[in-house]
């Protein structure tokens, strides 16, 4: 024990006080850091600050004015995301294990942080009162300081002793995530946050500690946590089923669309329309696809196949102009893609079978999404937009990554393609999108985009923003990925050719994995940028997370007056942004390390 402390002391001395210069630097920096933290603590604890402005507006922060009667939809979408994550974490769980001392070390460091706070927090703080006088108040009394110091010190020392003891117990790193998460879940049941009550004169009553603000969320969060845990076990149980991993990867791409078109939109569906429109269209297109796959090897069909493709393409183009149901237009487009890949893939019985399955799944998904996404929303919200706050920011971020990433991959591959038309189109899109500022695109989405869409097609503002966002970050992703593609030596392509791989296999198994791995850091920084840039949507009148904190709450006077409490909210918003981006960059570092194994 004494040895350990001596060693630590020596380390500290060597790293911080090795020379006069470094000693001065250490002391100077410590002084600055200390004062900064004291200032911050004073700011946070001063009675001038009304943190209830943040706490009491959680609902606004999360979903803006989304109607309470439809909250179940939000919870379902959050729950679905967690269930997907749970299954994926389980499926891809690595066998990395850590010794229990790593966990103790974390708690020990957390203890040190709290200890630091209890020691350096100022006793008094002052602020400028309304009448111009400086008011000084006691914010952290000696007795409460000591009352906090002793238990924290004991706990910290306890974890310090535990972490230095050799305990032969290790845990799986993924399991630990759930242990850590269970702490906040338990806390929302224990800690009671006050909510504000008003009396008859609309004056504030002292917060009633019996009305915890987290009350409405604690049951849903707990249920979600339990589902998360269950799906994790399901994932582990089916770890060996390879097909499930593929299904899961594809589902991830569909999830944002599903959430958007079905959970946030609450489509109003006319059953008659479905019966007379959707189902017949679905059946007809399914039959056409099925026939194409089954008859492709017939010599007569083979001979006239190029004519058939031509007919489909002409029909697709015509379909855009004549008035047929939206679903039929989309299906025609899909059929055009489908018939061009059929000859290459349907060479074996296995290939035919998967083609038919893919066709059916694609049609079902398309019908489902169009029914949900294109129909009028049944969610009625006072004001212009359906929802805002963190859910909007989050949706833009998820969409900005999940949709623009594959788009970026396609654009990058297209720009490197041997076919001149494809190359020119892709280069054109990338250059056009990149050469105009994001804000301009946002205005384009809000004002001009409707002009370019076929008559009768109208999208909600958020959908239009999502469309330009997908293209905008897609173009940036594409350029990053292209950098990765160029770093792949010619020999890799030749080796893949020489063992007989098809062009698709070559791209999917050899080229892309290496190209993407080479550009993970830039991809992550693009994703982070997309996440933060989503706050720009405020200029076209959408209420994202930041806008809620900066503008909405600051102007709030009913039911409770929070005017003038911008700073608390800005700090809160900054902290939330920081938590998400920091987690993302830490994750990416881990992934990089794991993938870096095979690097030369």
């Amino acid at each position: 024990m004494v040895d350990v402390i001596k060693k630590k002391a020596k380390e500290v001395q060597e790293s911080l006080f090795s020379s006069v210069g470094s000693s001065v630097l250490t002391i100077g920096t410590s002084y600055l850091v200390l004062n900064f933290f004291r200032g911050m603590f004073g700011f946070v604890m001063s009675s001038d600050k009304d943190w209830l402005a943040v706490l009491n507006n959680m609902q606004l922060y999360m979903v803006q004015a989304y109607p309470e009667s439809d909250f179940i939809r939000v919870w379902i979408s959050v729950g679905l995301t967690f269930v997907f994550s749970g299954v994926s974490i389980g499926l891809w769980r690595s066998d990395d294990r850590s010794n229990i001392s790593v966990m103790f070390d974390r708690f020990y460091k957390l203890g040190l942080g709290v200890l630091f706070f209890t020691i350096v927090a100022p006793t008094f703080t002052s602020y400028m009162g309304n009448d111009g006088y400086v008011i000084t108040e006691e914010v952290f009394s000696r007795s409460s300081r000591i009352g906090m110091l002793i238990p924290v010190l004991l706990i910290t020392v306890g974890f310090f002793l535990l972490k230095n003891r050799k305990i032969n117990f290790s845990f799986n790193n993924s399991d630990a995530v759930f242990l850590y998460l269970s702490i906040p879940i338990a806390l929302i049941w224990i800690i009671e946050l006050p909510t504000i009550q008003l009396d008859q004169n609309k004056d504030r009553i002292i917060p009633d500690p019996l009305m915890p603000i987290a009350n409405t969320t604690k049951v849903p969060w707990t249920v979600i946590f339990v589902l998360f845990l269950l799906s994790y076990f399901i994932g582990i149980y089916f770890k060996e089923v390879k097909r499930l991993k593929n299904i899961m990867s594809i589902s991830w791409f569909l999830l944002p669309l599903l959430i958007f078109s079905w959970i946030f939109k609450k489509p109003q569906i006319e059953m008659a329309e479905v019966l007379t429109g959707d189902i017949p269209i679905f059946l007809i297109f399914f039959a056409v696809g099925l026939g194409t796959v089954l008859l492709i090897n017939n010599p007569i069909v083979k001979k006239y196949y190029s004519i058939y493709i031509g007919v489909v393409i002409v029909a697709t183009i015509a379909g855009v102009f004549i008035s047929i149901p939206m679903l039929a237009k989309a299906c025609l487009l899909l059929l055009g893609l489908f018939v061009t890949v059929v000859p290459a893939v349907s060479t074996s019985q296995q290939g035919k079978k998967s083609l038919i399955i893919i066709w059916a799944v694609a049609l079902v998904t398309l019908t489902f999404l169009l029914r949900g996404g294109a129909s009028e929303t049944g969610i009625v919200v006072p004001g212009s937009s359906i929802f805002g706050g963190f859910s909007l920011t989050w949706l833009l971020a998820i969409f900005g990554t999940y949709v623009s990433f594959p788009l970026g991959v396609l654009l990058a591959l297209g720009r490197n393609s041997k076919l001149p038309i494809v190359r020119i189109i892709c280069t054109g899109i990338i250059e056009l999108v990149r050469s105009v500022p994001y804000i301009t695109w946002l205005f384009f989405a809000s004002v001009t985009l409707a002009v370019f869409l076929p008559a009768g097609v109208e999208f909600n503002l958020i959908v239009r923003v999502l469309m330009v966002t997908a293209f905008f970050s897609g173009a940036y992703f594409a350029e990053n990925i292209r950098g990765g593609l160029q770093s792949i030596p010619k020999g890799q392509y030749e080796a893949a050719d020489a063992i007989g791989m098809s062009p698709f296999q070559k791209i999917g198994l050899i080229v892309l994995p290496q190209a993407l791995r080479a550009v993970i850091p830039t991809l992550v920084s693009s994703a982070i940028t997309a996440f933060k840039d989503s706050s720009l949507v405020t200029i076209i009148g959408l209420f994202d997370f930041l806008t809620i904190g900066k503008t909405v709450i600051d102007n709030q006077s009913v039911p409770v007056n929070f005017v003038g409490h911008q700073r608390e909210n800005l700090i809160f918003v900054a902290v939330v942004y920081w938590i998400f981006t920091f987690t993302l960059s830490r994750r990416s570092m881990k992934i990089e390390k794991r993938l870096g194994l095979g690097e030369r």
């Binding site: 020999g491 080796a495 020489a498 791989m501 290496q514 095979g598 690097e599």
Partner: protein, 242 residues
């Protein structure tokens, strides 16, 4: 019946003619060594055999299939012709085992367990079974080249092409790769080897060819080639490298 027939193969890179009419035949189980000065078109020629390069005139027939632009033919031929490159060209993001099983699983559509069993057999054959779970970057050059040989063999090819397989290797690693190739030759594989390893040519080749400026200037048995060459160009070449 010969397994590869080439008739008057010509190839241009822009204005530059790299192959000026190569004709040759190789019988099943034969080992052919091609040598010649740098830039003489050796690589270009053997790369034409599995269509990594396209020839513009003449014809090449591999195992009864003519090499044309027909994608189907190219796929058939690439599955039957294995190739080993000077710079190994292993896939750095995959383990040795995955490098070898990739083509059997995805191209031949074999099951994973069968492919892995076969891969272990091949790794044993080239003498590095203990490296199966490493990544290429963690292996020495000689080991990497042997993995590359195993990877090509995993497709059960009828013909193996080697393009200077040892010239990127340190001298002490050359032997281990040559041993693996000798073993392969003895097992009856049809092989075309571009190399400057004359010891290897003397020991295992059935025939030796000399390329110069896009033409085949000499074709001979190894004994005759080294002891009694017909062509002056061959004499000059041998005097330079021996």
């Amino acid at each position: 019946m010969s397994i590869i027939q080439a008739k008057g193969v010509k190839k241009w890179f822009g204005d530059f003619q790299a192959l000026k009419g190569i004709s040759m035949e190789i019988a099943e189980g034969e080992v052919l060594v091609i040598c010649g000065p740098s830039g003489s078109g050796k690589s270009t020629f053997i790369r034409c055999i599995n269509r990594l390069e396209q020839h513009q005139e003449g014809e090449i027939v591999v195992d009864g299939t003519e090499l044309t632009n027909d994608l189907k033919n190219i796929e058939t031929i690439r599955a039957e012709v294995g190739m080993v490159f000077q710079s190994f060209n292993l896939f750095p993001h995959l383990t040795v085992m995955q490098n070898i099983t990739l083509a059997p699983i995805w191209v031949r559509k074999k099951s994973r367990s069968d492919s892995e069993e076969k891969a272990m057999e091949l790794l044993n054959r080239v003498g590095i079974p203990e490296q199966a779970d490493k990544f290429p970057g963690q292996l020495s050059g000689g080991q990497q080249q042997r993995v590359a040989i195993a990877r090509a063999l995993a497709m059960d090819p009828k013909i193996m092409l080697f393009d200077e397989p040892t010239s990127a290797l340190d001298p002490e690693m050359i032997k281990e790769v040559l041993d693996a190739m000798k073993e392969l030759a003895k097992s009856g594989m049809t092989m075309i080897v571009v190399t400057h390893e004359m010891g290897f040519a003397k020991e295992v080749a059935d025939r030796v060819m000399l390329f110069d400026e896009g033409m085949m200037v000499e074709e001979n048995t190894p004994v005759e080639f080294f002891d009694n060459p017909k062509n002056d160009r061959t004499k000059l070449f041998l005097s330079q490298i021996l």
